[in-house]
Symmetry: C2
Subunit: 232 residues, 2 copies
DNA sequence: CGCAATATTGATTCCGTTCAAGGGTGGTGG
DNA sequence: CCACCACCCTTGAACGGAATCAATATTGCG
C-alpha cells in the first residue's frame, strides 16, 4: 500500500511541472507525500468534497468528470502517469468541481497543499510551469465548447477517437491503449450510449476502425481527421 | 488616444490579480504600459496571432470567441472592466487561441509580457492570484461543456440570461447592462439565431422576460433559475 | 453457473436546424 | 431631411439528426 515510489523515477518528474523542482525541494516532497493504490472504479475524490492537496499519478488512468442534474456524467478530461490533479480546488480553496475515478488500476501520490503553496511562492519556474499547464487545459476546454456546440455527434466521435490515440497510444497490434465502455465514450462525446454504438458500427462497416469488444483500432486516420474537421 | 489612465484608479487594481501588486511594482507597470481606445466591432487580437503582452480592460465590454471551421463564432467568455486577457498566449508562448472583439467602446491597457513574467517570478502572491483566476475560468469552461452537452437550448438560454445579469448587472429600469445581437446570443448558447429568437419570444409571451429591441429585462428569475437547472 | 452490467438493434418521437421570405431599423450620404 | 442600403430581426414550413423507449443479446464477474 504505502510502498512510496521514488519521485526521482516518477514519470511526473520528467514531463510535468515537477521538472522545475530542485533536488532539495524534491527531498522535501518525498518526506511529505503519501501514496496509495486504486482499483478500476475507485473514486479518488468526488465533486463537492474538500481536498487539501494535489494528486500526482505514478501509473494508471483516471477519468475526470462532472455530474449533471440528472446524474449523467460528462467527462471533461483524462489523467494518466505524470499528470497532477486537484490543483484547482487547492489553489482556489474551493471544493472539488469534478470527480476523479480510476478506469485502470492506479498508483497515486498525494502532496499536501502547503507544499504546493510553498513551491509556488519560492520557485517562480514552478509557478510558471503550473500556470502553463492550467492554460493548456483551459484552451482545450474552450476548444471543446466550440466543438460540442458546432459539430455533429459523428464528427465529435471521430475527434475523440483520434484524441484517445494521441493521448494514450496503441499497443503492438495497433489497438488503443485505453478501453472505455460505450457509455463512457458517450460521456466524452456528449451524446447517448446508443448513438455511440450506432456510429461505431458505421465506422466499422466503412472500414475506418476495427472493433473487438472494448478494443478499438483506428484504421483510417486520414478519414477520421477530415471528418472531425480539426486541423491541429 | 494615449491619455494613459492611472492604474491607481483602475478597476483592475482593486478587484483583479493586480490587487497583490506593491507600489513599486505599480510604478514600474505605469511606465511600461500603453493604452488605446477601441470602438464597437474593433478586434483587439485575433485567433492565431502572436501577442507579446496582456490586455487590461479599463472600461468597455469585449467578447472572446473561437471560430469554427465553417466560420461560425463560439463565444467562450466576456471581458469587462478589471479583467485581463491574453495571458494564456503570453504564458504559453503560443499564438492567441481566441479572438477578442469590442462589443462596447473600450479603453484597454497593454502590458508587455516581460513585466508579467517578472511579476510571476518575484511576487508569489501575484502568481497565486493569477493562477486562481485561470482556475476559475477553467472551472467555468468545464461546467459549460457539461451544460452544452446535457441541457436543451431552452435551458441554456435561461442560464445565459441569468449569467449576463449577474455578470453585467442591470440599469435603473432593470434592463441588462449589456446588449447583444440575437446572433451573438446564439453564439454563446451554441445554437442557431432563429432558435434564440423563437425562444426569446416564448419567454416573452410567458412573461418571463421583457424585450424591447436589444434590451432585455429578466422578469422571473426564479422561473429561469429552475429552468436552467443550475444550482450555484 | 447465473446474475448484473454492458452492448446491440429497431421503432418512434421530437428538438432544433435549415431554408426561405418578409419586415424593421439605423446609419450614411446626397 | 429623407431615401436608400445594409444589417438585423421575425415567422413559417420542412427536414433530419439524435434522443428516447423497448426488447434482446452478450459479456464478464463473483
Amino acid at each position: 500500500m504505502t510502498n512510496n515510489p521514488n519521485c526521482k523515477q516518477c514519470p511526473s518528474a520528467i514531463n510535468s511541472v515537477f521538472s522545475t523542482i530542485t533536488p532539495e525541494e524534491n527531498t522535501f516532497i518525498e518526506l511529505e507525500k503519501t501514496c496509495s493504490n486504486y482499483k478500476r472504479g475507485d473514486v479518488i475524490y468526488r465533486e463537492g468534497s474538500r481536498i487539501n492537496g494535489v494528486f500526482c499519478i505514478y501509473s494508471g488512468i483516471l477519468k475526470i468528470y462532472k455530474t449533471g442534474s440528472d446524474g449523467k456524467e460528462q467527462i471533461v478530461a483524462f489523467a494518466k502517469e505524470g499528470n497532477i490533479m486537484g490543483y484547482r480546488s487547492v489553489l482556489s480553496h474551493e471544493p472539488a468541481c469534478t470527480t476523479a475515478q480510476a478506469i485502470e488500476d492506479a498508483l497515486i501520490c498525494y502532496i499536501p497543499a502547503s507544499v504546493i503553496f510553498d513551491l509556488i511562492k519560492t520557485n517562480g519556474n514552478f509557478a510558471l510551469s503550473l500556470m502553463q499547464l492550467i492554460c493548456n487545459e483551459l484552451n482545450q476546454a474552450n476548444s471543446y465548447i466550440k466543438d460540442i456546440a458546432q459539430k455533429t455527434v459523428r464528427e465529435r466521435l471521430a475527434e475523440v477517437l483520434l484524441m484517445l490515440e494521441t493521448n494514450f497510444g496503441t499497443n503492438d497490434e495497433g489497438f488503443l491503449n485505453i478501453t472505455l465502455t460505450r457509455e463512457e465514450l458517450a460521456n466524452i462525446v456528449g451524446t447517448a450510449t446508443e448513438s455511440v454504438i450506432r456510429l461505431l458500427s458505421e465506422f466499422k462497416s466503412e472500414g475506418v476502425i476495427i472493433v473487438s469488444r472494448k478494443f478499438i483500432k483506428l484504421n483510417n486516420r486520414v478519414f477520421l481527421k477530415k471528418l472531425s474537421k480539426s486541423f491541429n
